[in-house]
Symmetry: C2
Subunit: 258 residues, 2 copies
Protein backbone atom coordinates (compact mmCIF):
# COMPACT_ATOMS: atom_id res chain seq x y z
CA UNK A 1 0.00 0.00 0.00
CA UNK A 2 1.43 3.33 -1.01
CA UNK A 3 -1.28 5.80 -0.12
CA UNK A 4 -2.00 6.43 -3.81
CA UNK A 5 -5.63 6.95 -4.84
CA UNK A 6 -7.58 4.87 -7.36
CA UNK A 7 -8.54 6.84 -10.48
CA UNK A 8 -12.30 7.40 -10.50
CA UNK A 9 -15.25 9.76 -10.40
CA UNK A 10 -14.00 11.84 -7.48
CA UNK A 11 -16.40 14.68 -8.06
CA UNK A 12 -19.38 12.36 -8.45
CA UNK A 13 -18.82 10.53 -5.17
CA UNK A 14 -18.17 13.76 -3.36
CA UNK A 15 -21.25 15.52 -4.68
CA UNK A 16 -23.39 12.44 -3.94
CA UNK A 17 -22.24 12.57 -0.31
CA UNK A 18 -22.68 16.34 -0.10
CA UNK A 19 -26.21 15.86 -1.42
CA UNK A 20 -26.88 13.13 1.15
CA UNK A 21 -25.72 15.45 3.95
CA UNK A 22 -27.81 18.34 2.64
CA UNK A 23 -31.02 16.37 2.05
CA UNK A 24 -30.86 13.09 4.00
CA UNK A 25 -31.24 11.24 0.65
CA UNK A 26 -28.84 8.27 0.61
CA UNK A 27 -26.33 7.19 3.25
CA UNK A 28 -24.53 10.05 4.93
CA UNK A 29 -20.81 9.77 5.67
CA UNK A 30 -20.21 9.17 9.38
CA UNK A 31 -17.09 9.25 11.53
CA UNK A 32 -16.86 6.40 14.03
CA UNK A 33 -20.10 5.11 12.47
CA UNK A 34 -22.00 7.76 14.41
CA UNK A 35 -20.90 11.38 14.13
CA UNK A 36 -21.77 13.14 10.85
CA UNK A 37 -18.61 13.72 8.84
CA UNK A 38 -18.52 16.92 6.74
CA UNK A 39 -17.89 16.34 3.04
CA UNK A 40 -14.55 17.92 2.17
CA UNK A 41 -13.07 18.31 -1.32
CA UNK A 42 -9.33 17.72 -1.28
CA UNK A 43 -7.23 19.53 -3.85
CA UNK A 44 -3.57 18.64 -4.36
CA UNK A 45 -1.21 20.86 -6.33
CA UNK A 46 1.90 19.37 -7.93
CA UNK A 47 4.24 21.30 -5.62
CA UNK A 48 2.84 19.30 -2.68
CA UNK A 49 0.33 21.95 -1.56
CA UNK A 50 -2.88 20.38 -0.33
CA UNK A 51 -6.09 22.08 0.68
CA UNK A 52 -9.46 20.91 1.88
CA UNK A 53 -12.65 22.81 1.15
CA UNK A 54 -16.22 22.17 2.28
CA UNK A 55 -18.47 21.09 -0.59
CA UNK A 56 -21.85 22.50 0.44
CA UNK A 57 -21.39 25.46 -1.96
CA UNK A 58 -21.85 23.12 -4.93
CA UNK A 59 -25.49 22.79 -3.90
CA UNK A 60 -26.09 26.33 -2.67
CA UNK A 61 -29.44 27.95 -3.36
CA UNK A 62 -29.34 31.40 -5.00
CA UNK A 63 -29.56 33.15 -1.61
CA UNK A 64 -26.09 31.80 -0.77
CA UNK A 65 -24.41 32.58 -4.11
CA UNK A 66 -21.67 35.12 -4.60
CA UNK A 67 -22.89 38.38 -6.20
CA UNK A 68 -21.07 37.71 -9.50
CA UNK A 69 -23.02 34.45 -9.93
CA UNK A 70 -26.24 36.46 -9.89
CA UNK A 71 -24.86 38.97 -12.38
CA UNK A 72 -23.76 36.12 -14.66
CA UNK A 73 -27.17 34.50 -14.60
CA UNK A 74 -28.86 37.83 -15.30
CA UNK A 75 -26.89 38.07 -18.55
CA UNK A 76 -27.90 34.80 -20.20
CA UNK A 77 -30.05 34.68 -23.32
CA UNK A 78 -31.36 31.88 -25.55
CA UNK A 79 -30.45 28.27 -24.88
CA UNK A 80 -27.78 27.98 -22.20
CA UNK A 81 -25.07 25.32 -21.87
CA UNK A 82 -23.92 25.14 -18.23
CA UNK A 83 -20.35 23.88 -18.70
CA UNK A 84 -19.36 21.89 -15.62
CA UNK A 85 -22.88 21.77 -14.22
CA UNK A 86 -21.60 20.18 -10.98
CA UNK A 87 -24.33 19.89 -8.39
CA UNK A 88 -26.73 21.72 -10.70
CA UNK A 89 -27.22 24.89 -8.65
CA UNK A 90 -27.07 27.21 -11.67
CA UNK A 91 -28.95 24.96 -14.13
CA UNK A 92 -31.72 24.31 -11.63
CA UNK A 93 -32.23 27.99 -11.00
CA UNK A 94 -32.28 28.84 -14.72
CA UNK A 95 -34.69 26.00 -15.46
CA UNK A 96 -37.01 27.18 -12.68
CA UNK A 97 -36.85 30.67 -14.20
CA UNK A 98 -38.01 29.27 -17.56
CA UNK A 99 -34.64 29.52 -19.29
CA UNK A 100 -33.83 26.57 -21.59
CA UNK A 101 -30.65 25.08 -20.13
CA UNK A 102 -28.52 21.98 -20.63
CA UNK A 103 -26.01 20.84 -18.05
CA UNK A 104 -22.72 19.32 -19.22
CA UNK A 105 -20.30 17.46 -16.99
CA UNK A 106 -17.65 14.76 -17.24
CA UNK A 107 -18.80 13.36 -13.87
CA UNK A 108 -21.52 10.70 -14.15
CA UNK A 109 -22.12 10.96 -10.41
CA UNK A 110 -22.65 14.71 -10.57
CA UNK A 111 -25.19 14.21 -13.36
CA UNK A 112 -27.06 11.65 -11.22
CA UNK A 113 -27.39 14.27 -8.47
CA UNK A 114 -28.52 16.90 -11.00
CA UNK A 115 -31.14 14.50 -12.37
CA UNK A 116 -32.37 13.72 -8.86
CA UNK A 117 -32.67 17.43 -8.14
CA UNK A 118 -34.79 17.84 -11.26
CA UNK A 119 -32.43 19.18 -13.93
CA UNK A 120 -34.00 17.84 -17.15
CA UNK A 121 -31.37 18.34 -19.88
CA UNK A 122 -28.06 16.74 -19.05
CA UNK A 123 -25.13 15.63 -21.19
CA UNK A 124 -22.21 13.46 -20.07
CA UNK A 125 -18.87 14.45 -21.59
CA UNK A 126 -16.52 17.25 -22.55
CA UNK A 127 -17.38 20.21 -24.78
CA UNK A 128 -15.34 18.54 -27.55
CA UNK A 129 -17.34 15.32 -27.28
CA UNK A 130 -20.63 17.21 -27.23
CA UNK A 131 -20.03 18.84 -30.64
CA UNK A 132 -21.02 15.63 -32.47
CA UNK A 133 -24.42 15.59 -30.72
CA UNK A 134 -25.62 18.40 -32.97
CA UNK A 135 -27.03 20.57 -30.20
CA UNK A 136 -26.28 24.31 -30.43
CA UNK A 137 -26.38 27.07 -27.82
CA UNK A 138 -26.67 30.84 -27.41
CA UNK A 139 -24.93 31.20 -24.04
CA UNK A 140 -22.12 29.19 -22.50
CA UNK A 141 -21.90 29.60 -18.73
CA UNK A 142 -18.62 28.71 -17.02
CA UNK A 143 -19.23 29.54 -13.37
CA UNK A 144 -17.61 28.30 -10.18
CA UNK A 145 -14.17 29.34 -11.53
CA UNK A 146 -14.73 27.27 -14.66
CA UNK A 147 -12.90 29.75 -16.86
CA UNK A 148 -10.18 27.50 -15.46
CA UNK A 149 -11.23 24.77 -17.94
CA UNK A 150 -9.33 26.75 -20.58
CA UNK A 151 -6.25 25.25 -18.83
CA UNK A 152 -3.54 27.38 -20.47
CA UNK A 153 -2.03 28.44 -23.78
CA UNK A 154 -1.98 24.91 -25.24
CA UNK A 155 -5.57 23.98 -24.55
CA UNK A 156 -7.25 27.40 -24.99
CA UNK A 157 -7.51 27.28 -28.84
CA UNK A 158 -9.08 23.80 -28.83
CA UNK A 159 -11.44 24.58 -25.97
CA UNK A 160 -12.62 27.85 -27.53
CA UNK A 161 -12.98 26.15 -30.94
CA UNK A 162 -15.20 23.46 -29.39
CA UNK A 163 -17.41 26.14 -27.80
CA UNK A 164 -17.58 27.90 -31.18
CA UNK A 165 -18.57 24.62 -32.85
CA UNK A 166 -21.42 24.35 -30.32
CA UNK A 167 -22.48 27.98 -30.83
CA UNK A 168 -25.41 29.51 -32.65
CA UNK A 169 -24.70 32.78 -34.48
CA UNK A 170 -24.23 35.64 -32.03
CA UNK A 171 -23.53 33.31 -29.11
CA UNK A 172 -21.76 34.48 -25.95
CA UNK A 173 -19.57 32.93 -23.26
CA UNK A 174 -19.88 34.15 -19.67
CA UNK A 175 -16.98 32.75 -17.67
CA UNK A 176 -16.00 33.36 -14.08
CA UNK A 177 -12.29 33.61 -13.35
CA UNK A 178 -10.03 34.49 -10.45
CA UNK A 179 -6.91 36.66 -10.60
CA UNK A 180 -4.31 34.68 -8.64
CA UNK A 181 -1.62 37.38 -8.52
CA UNK A 182 -2.87 39.56 -5.65
CA UNK A 183 -1.09 37.46 -3.04
CA UNK A 184 2.35 37.87 -1.49
CA UNK A 185 2.30 34.38 0.01
CA UNK A 186 5.62 32.85 -1.11
CA UNK A 187 3.89 29.47 -1.45
CA UNK A 188 1.92 30.97 -4.33
CA UNK A 189 4.29 33.59 -5.73
CA UNK A 190 7.04 30.94 -5.88
CA UNK A 191 4.69 28.58 -7.69
CA UNK A 192 3.78 31.29 -10.22
CA UNK A 193 7.47 32.01 -10.83
CA UNK A 194 8.28 28.35 -11.37
CA UNK A 195 5.39 28.04 -13.80
CA UNK A 196 6.64 31.02 -15.83
CA UNK A 197 10.16 29.62 -16.01
CA UNK A 198 8.60 26.49 -17.57
CA UNK A 199 6.77 28.54 -20.20
CA UNK A 200 3.42 28.14 -18.44
CA UNK A 201 1.12 30.91 -17.30
CA UNK A 202 1.82 31.84 -13.68
CA UNK A 203 -1.56 30.67 -12.43
CA UNK A 204 -1.66 27.53 -14.55
CA UNK A 205 -2.26 25.15 -11.68
CA UNK A 206 -1.47 21.46 -12.00
CA UNK A 207 -3.97 19.76 -9.73
CA UNK A 208 -5.67 16.57 -8.82
CA UNK A 209 -8.79 16.13 -6.74
CA UNK A 210 -9.21 13.41 -4.15
CA UNK A 211 -12.16 12.08 -2.23
CA UNK A 212 -12.01 9.00 0.00
CA UNK A 213 -10.22 6.28 -2.03
CA UNK A 214 -10.51 8.07 -5.38
CA UNK A 215 -8.34 10.55 -7.19
CA UNK A 216 -8.40 12.22 -10.59
CA UNK A 217 -5.45 12.21 -12.96
CA UNK A 218 -3.32 15.35 -12.70
CA UNK A 219 -4.84 18.12 -14.83
CA UNK A 220 -4.23 21.79 -15.61
CA UNK A 221 -6.66 24.39 -14.30
CA UNK A 222 -6.08 28.05 -15.03
CA UNK A 223 -6.32 31.02 -12.73
CA UNK A 224 -5.41 34.04 -14.86
CA UNK A 225 -5.50 37.80 -14.60
CA UNK A 226 -7.75 39.91 -16.78
CA UNK A 227 -4.57 41.11 -18.55
CA UNK A 228 -3.77 37.56 -19.61
CA UNK A 229 -7.18 36.97 -21.21
CA UNK A 230 -6.58 38.62 -24.62
CA UNK A 231 -3.51 36.42 -25.15
CA UNK A 232 -5.73 33.36 -24.69
CA UNK A 233 -8.71 34.54 -26.74
CA UNK A 234 -6.97 36.30 -29.67
CA UNK A 235 -6.93 34.13 -32.77
CA UNK A 236 -9.97 32.13 -31.59
CA UNK A 237 -13.50 32.52 -33.03
CA UNK A 238 -14.31 34.64 -29.94
CA UNK A 239 -13.82 38.27 -29.00
CA UNK A 240 -13.37 39.46 -25.39
CA UNK A 241 -16.07 42.15 -25.17
CA UNK A 242 -16.45 42.82 -21.45
CA UNK A 243 -14.95 42.12 -18.05
CA UNK A 244 -16.91 42.70 -14.85
CA UNK A 245 -14.37 42.77 -12.01
CA UNK A 246 -16.46 44.47 -9.35
CA UNK A 247 -15.69 41.56 -7.00
CA UNK A 248 -11.95 41.53 -7.63
CA UNK A 249 -10.05 39.12 -7.57
CA UNK A 250 -13.11 37.32 -8.96
CA UNK A 251 -14.39 38.45 -12.35
CA UNK A 252 -16.80 37.64 -15.17
CA UNK A 253 -15.39 37.63 -18.69
CA UNK A 254 -17.80 37.92 -21.60
CA UNK A 255 -16.79 36.60 -25.01
CA UNK A 256 -18.82 37.15 -28.17
CA UNK A 257 -18.65 35.07 -31.34
CA UNK A 258 -16.58 37.23 -33.71
CA UNK B 1 7.39 18.30 -8.77
CA UNK B 2 5.69 15.17 -7.55
CA UNK B 3 2.97 16.43 -5.26
CA UNK B 4 4.82 15.02 -2.22
CA UNK B 5 4.75 17.04 1.00
CA UNK B 6 7.76 18.40 2.88
CA UNK B 7 8.20 16.78 6.30
CA UNK B 8 7.44 19.34 8.98
CA UNK B 9 5.29 20.47 11.91
CA UNK B 10 1.93 19.81 10.22
CA UNK B 11 -0.06 19.99 13.41
CA UNK B 12 1.66 23.19 14.54
CA UNK B 13 0.96 25.13 11.35
CA UNK B 14 -2.59 23.87 11.26
CA UNK B 15 -3.36 24.74 14.86
CA UNK B 16 -1.72 28.18 14.41
CA UNK B 17 -4.07 28.88 11.49
CA UNK B 18 -7.09 27.48 13.33
CA UNK B 19 -6.22 29.79 16.21
CA UNK B 20 -5.91 32.76 13.85
CA UNK B 21 -9.35 32.01 12.41
CA UNK B 22 -10.89 31.60 15.87
CA UNK B 23 -9.34 34.71 17.42
CA UNK B 24 -8.11 37.06 14.68
CA UNK B 25 -4.59 36.73 16.14
CA UNK B 26 -2.08 36.35 13.29
CA UNK B 27 -2.73 36.15 9.55
CA UNK B 28 -5.80 34.14 8.64
CA UNK B 29 -5.70 31.81 5.64
CA UNK B 30 -7.60 33.29 2.70
CA UNK B 31 -8.76 31.87 -0.62
CA UNK B 32 -8.23 34.20 -3.57
CA UNK B 33 -6.55 36.56 -1.08
CA UNK B 34 -9.98 37.58 0.14
CA UNK B 35 -12.41 34.87 1.23
CA UNK B 36 -11.69 33.21 4.59
CA UNK B 37 -10.52 29.65 4.04
CA UNK B 38 -11.56 27.10 6.66
CA UNK B 39 -8.66 25.26 8.28
CA UNK B 40 -8.96 21.60 7.36
CA UNK B 41 -6.84 18.74 8.71
CA UNK B 42 -6.05 16.22 6.00
CA UNK B 43 -5.53 12.62 7.02
CA UNK B 44 -4.16 10.07 4.57
CA UNK B 45 -4.31 6.34 5.25
CA UNK B 46 -1.84 4.00 3.56
CA UNK B 47 -4.57 2.33 1.47
CA UNK B 48 -5.13 5.65 -0.33
CA UNK B 49 -8.08 6.77 1.79
CA UNK B 50 -8.03 10.50 2.41
CA UNK B 51 -10.29 12.55 4.63
CA UNK B 52 -10.53 16.19 5.55
CA UNK B 53 -11.81 17.35 8.92
CA UNK B 54 -12.40 20.85 10.27
CA UNK B 55 -9.94 21.78 13.01
CA UNK B 56 -11.99 24.12 15.20
CA UNK B 57 -12.63 21.27 17.71
CA UNK B 58 -8.97 21.43 18.79
CA UNK B 59 -9.75 24.80 20.36
CA UNK B 60 -13.28 24.08 21.58
CA UNK B 61 -14.38 25.53 24.92
CA UNK B 62 -15.90 23.03 27.39
CA UNK B 63 -19.44 23.86 26.20
CA UNK B 64 -18.63 22.27 22.85
CA UNK B 65 -16.88 19.15 24.17
CA UNK B 66 -18.20 15.64 23.84
CA UNK B 67 -19.72 14.29 27.06
CA UNK B 68 -16.90 11.77 27.61
CA UNK B 69 -14.36 14.61 27.68
CA UNK B 70 -16.22 16.09 30.64
CA UNK B 71 -16.35 12.73 32.41
CA UNK B 72 -12.61 12.26 31.83
CA UNK B 73 -11.77 15.66 33.28
CA UNK B 74 -13.99 15.00 36.30
CA UNK B 75 -11.85 11.94 37.13
CA UNK B 76 -8.43 13.55 37.34
CA UNK B 77 -6.53 13.85 40.61
CA UNK B 78 -3.10 15.19 41.57
CA UNK B 79 -0.72 16.56 38.97
CA UNK B 80 -1.98 15.87 35.44
CA UNK B 81 0.07 15.26 32.30
CA UNK B 82 -2.05 16.10 29.23
CA UNK B 83 -0.44 13.80 26.64
CA UNK B 84 -0.83 15.38 23.20
CA UNK B 85 -2.00 18.73 24.56
CA UNK B 86 -2.79 19.97 21.03
CA UNK B 87 -4.55 23.33 21.09
CA UNK B 88 -4.65 23.22 24.88
CA UNK B 89 -8.40 22.97 25.36
CA UNK B 90 -8.18 20.38 28.17
CA UNK B 91 -5.07 21.79 29.88
CA UNK B 92 -6.47 25.32 29.86
CA UNK B 93 -9.72 24.19 31.44
CA UNK B 94 -7.93 22.17 34.15
CA UNK B 95 -5.56 25.04 34.90
CA UNK B 96 -8.48 27.45 35.22
CA UNK B 97 -10.11 24.96 37.62
CA UNK B 98 -6.99 25.03 39.80
CA UNK B 99 -5.72 21.59 38.80
CA UNK B 100 -1.93 21.39 38.38
CA UNK B 101 -1.43 20.35 34.75
CA UNK B 102 1.44 20.01 32.30
CA UNK B 103 0.86 19.83 28.55
CA UNK B 104 3.10 17.56 26.47
CA UNK B 105 3.29 17.62 22.70
CA UNK B 106 5.74 16.82 19.90
CA UNK B 107 4.50 19.86 17.95
CA UNK B 108 6.41 23.06 18.71
CA UNK B 109 3.71 25.07 16.91
CA UNK B 110 0.94 23.59 19.03
CA UNK B 111 2.90 24.49 22.19
CA UNK B 112 3.24 28.09 20.94
CA UNK B 113 -0.55 28.30 20.61
CA UNK B 114 -0.99 26.75 24.08
CA UNK B 115 1.45 29.28 25.55
CA UNK B 116 -0.37 32.15 23.84
CA UNK B 117 -3.65 30.90 25.24
CA UNK B 118 -2.16 30.90 28.73
CA UNK B 119 -1.20 27.29 29.43
CA UNK B 120 1.74 27.69 31.86
CA UNK B 121 3.39 24.25 32.05
CA UNK B 122 4.40 22.90 28.68
CA UNK B 123 6.91 20.28 27.58
CA UNK B 124 8.11 19.62 24.04
CA UNK B 125 8.69 15.95 23.25
CA UNK B 126 7.43 12.40 23.58
CA UNK B 127 6.58 10.63 26.82
CA UNK B 128 9.84 8.67 26.47
CA UNK B 129 11.90 11.86 26.17
CA UNK B 130 10.11 13.44 29.12
CA UNK B 131 11.17 10.70 31.56
CA UNK B 132 14.67 12.16 31.89
CA UNK B 133 13.24 15.55 32.99
CA UNK B 134 12.46 14.08 36.41
CA UNK B 135 8.87 15.33 36.60
CA UNK B 136 6.29 12.87 37.93
CA UNK B 137 2.50 12.77 37.61
CA UNK B 138 -0.63 11.34 39.21
CA UNK B 139 -2.92 11.35 36.17
CA UNK B 140 -2.14 10.89 32.49
CA UNK B 141 -4.88 12.19 30.22
CA UNK B 142 -5.01 10.91 26.64
CA UNK B 143 -8.06 12.59 25.16
CA UNK B 144 -9.03 13.40 21.57
CA UNK B 145 -8.61 9.70 20.64
CA UNK B 146 -5.06 9.73 22.03
CA UNK B 147 -5.31 6.17 23.29
CA UNK B 148 -4.26 5.82 19.65
CA UNK B 149 -0.71 6.84 20.63
CA UNK B 150 -0.29 3.27 21.92
CA UNK B 151 0.02 2.45 18.16
CA UNK B 152 -0.25 -1.35 18.39
CA UNK B 153 1.26 -4.47 19.92
CA UNK B 154 4.86 -3.45 19.20
CA UNK B 155 4.75 0.01 20.70
CA UNK B 156 2.33 -0.58 23.60
CA UNK B 157 4.88 -2.03 26.09
CA UNK B 158 7.33 0.84 25.53
CA UNK B 159 4.65 3.52 25.65
CA UNK B 160 3.09 2.13 28.84
CA UNK B 161 6.54 1.71 30.41
CA UNK B 162 7.34 5.37 29.70
CA UNK B 163 4.07 6.44 31.36
CA UNK B 164 4.94 4.22 34.35
CA UNK B 165 8.39 5.82 34.55
CA UNK B 166 6.66 9.23 34.70
CA UNK B 167 4.16 8.04 37.34
CA UNK B 168 3.90 8.71 41.03
CA UNK B 169 2.71 5.78 43.17
CA UNK B 170 -1.00 5.13 42.63
CA UNK B 171 -1.07 7.01 39.33
CA UNK B 172 -3.84 6.53 36.75
CA UNK B 173 -4.20 6.81 32.99
CA UNK B 174 -7.49 8.05 31.51
CA UNK B 175 -7.45 7.44 27.78
CA UNK B 176 -10.16 8.01 25.20
CA UNK B 177 -10.44 5.42 22.46
CA UNK B 178 -12.76 4.58 19.59
CA UNK B 179 -13.98 1.10 18.64
CA UNK B 180 -13.53 0.97 14.84
CA UNK B 181 -15.36 -2.31 14.22
CA UNK B 182 -19.00 -1.13 14.25
CA UNK B 183 -18.94 -0.30 10.54
CA UNK B 184 -19.91 -2.42 7.55
CA UNK B 185 -18.28 -0.02 5.09
CA UNK B 186 -16.05 -2.28 2.95
CA UNK B 187 -13.47 0.51 2.77
CA UNK B 188 -12.92 0.00 6.49
CA UNK B 189 -13.74 -3.70 6.98
CA UNK B 190 -11.37 -4.56 4.11
CA UNK B 191 -8.66 -2.45 5.71
CA UNK B 192 -9.15 -4.18 9.06
CA UNK B 193 -8.92 -7.60 7.37
CA UNK B 194 -5.73 -6.67 5.53
CA UNK B 195 -4.22 -5.44 8.77
CA UNK B 196 -5.00 -8.72 10.55
CA UNK B 197 -3.48 -10.78 7.73
CA UNK B 198 -0.28 -8.78 8.31
CA UNK B 199 -0.28 -9.55 12.04
CA UNK B 200 -1.45 -6.05 12.95
CA UNK B 201 -4.50 -5.15 14.99
CA UNK B 202 -7.49 -4.51 12.70
CA UNK B 203 -7.77 -0.84 13.61
CA UNK B 204 -4.03 -0.19 13.60
CA UNK B 205 -4.17 2.67 11.14
CA UNK B 206 -1.10 3.72 9.18
CA UNK B 207 -1.55 7.44 8.64
CA UNK B 208 0.10 10.67 7.77
CA UNK B 209 -1.24 14.16 8.31
CA UNK B 210 -0.92 16.94 5.76
CA UNK B 211 -1.46 20.66 5.92
CA UNK B 212 -0.58 23.01 3.08
CA UNK B 213 2.97 22.07 1.95
CA UNK B 214 3.77 19.95 4.99
CA UNK B 215 3.30 16.30 5.80
CA UNK B 216 4.24 14.04 8.69
CA UNK B 217 6.07 10.76 8.21
CA UNK B 218 3.75 7.75 8.09
CA UNK B 219 2.91 6.62 11.63
CA UNK B 220 0.71 4.03 13.34
CA UNK B 221 -2.34 5.21 15.28
CA UNK B 222 -4.55 2.67 16.98
CA UNK B 223 -8.30 2.45 17.06
CA UNK B 224 -9.10 -0.65 19.10
CA UNK B 225 -12.10 -2.27 20.69
CA UNK B 226 -12.50 -2.58 24.43
CA UNK B 227 -11.94 -6.34 24.00
CA UNK B 228 -8.50 -5.70 22.54
CA UNK B 229 -7.36 -3.56 25.49
CA UNK B 230 -6.30 -6.34 27.92
CA UNK B 231 -4.00 -7.82 25.27
CA UNK B 232 -2.24 -4.46 25.07
CA UNK B 233 -2.08 -3.69 28.80
CA UNK B 234 -1.33 -7.15 30.27
CA UNK B 235 2.33 -7.51 31.19
CA UNK B 236 2.76 -3.75 31.54
CA UNK B 237 3.07 -1.91 34.89
CA UNK B 238 -0.62 -0.93 34.46
CA UNK B 239 -3.94 -2.64 35.19
CA UNK B 240 -7.12 -1.96 33.21
CA UNK B 241 -9.56 -1.13 36.01
CA UNK B 242 -12.53 0.49 34.27
CA UNK B 243 -14.06 1.20 30.88
CA UNK B 244 -16.78 3.84 30.44
CA UNK B 245 -18.42 3.15 27.07
CA UNK B 246 -21.63 5.09 27.55
CA UNK B 247 -20.90 6.95 24.30
CA UNK B 248 -20.08 3.87 22.25
CA UNK B 249 -18.12 3.62 19.91
CA UNK B 250 -16.16 6.18 21.94
CA UNK B 251 -14.94 5.10 25.38
CA UNK B 252 -12.74 6.05 28.31
CA UNK B 253 -10.30 3.42 29.55
CA UNK B 254 -8.87 3.81 33.04
CA UNK B 255 -5.55 2.18 33.92
CA UNK B 256 -4.10 2.04 37.40
CA UNK B 257 -0.47 1.52 38.32
CA UNK B 258 -0.34 -2.15 39.40
Amino acid sequence: MTGEPTIGDVFGEMIRDAYAVATGIGPRPLAGGRLPRPVIEIIERDDGLINGAPTAHYLDPPEAWQPYDHRAVDRVRGHVLDVGVGGGRIALHLQQSGVPVTGLDTSAGALRVCRHRGVRELVHGTVDQHVADGRRYDTFLLLGNNLGLIEGRDRAPGFLAALAALARPGAQVIAQGTDPYGTNDPVHTGYHERNRRQGRLGGQLRLRLRYRLLGTEWFDYLLCSVDELPGLVDGSPWRLVDVDDRDHPFYLAKLQLA
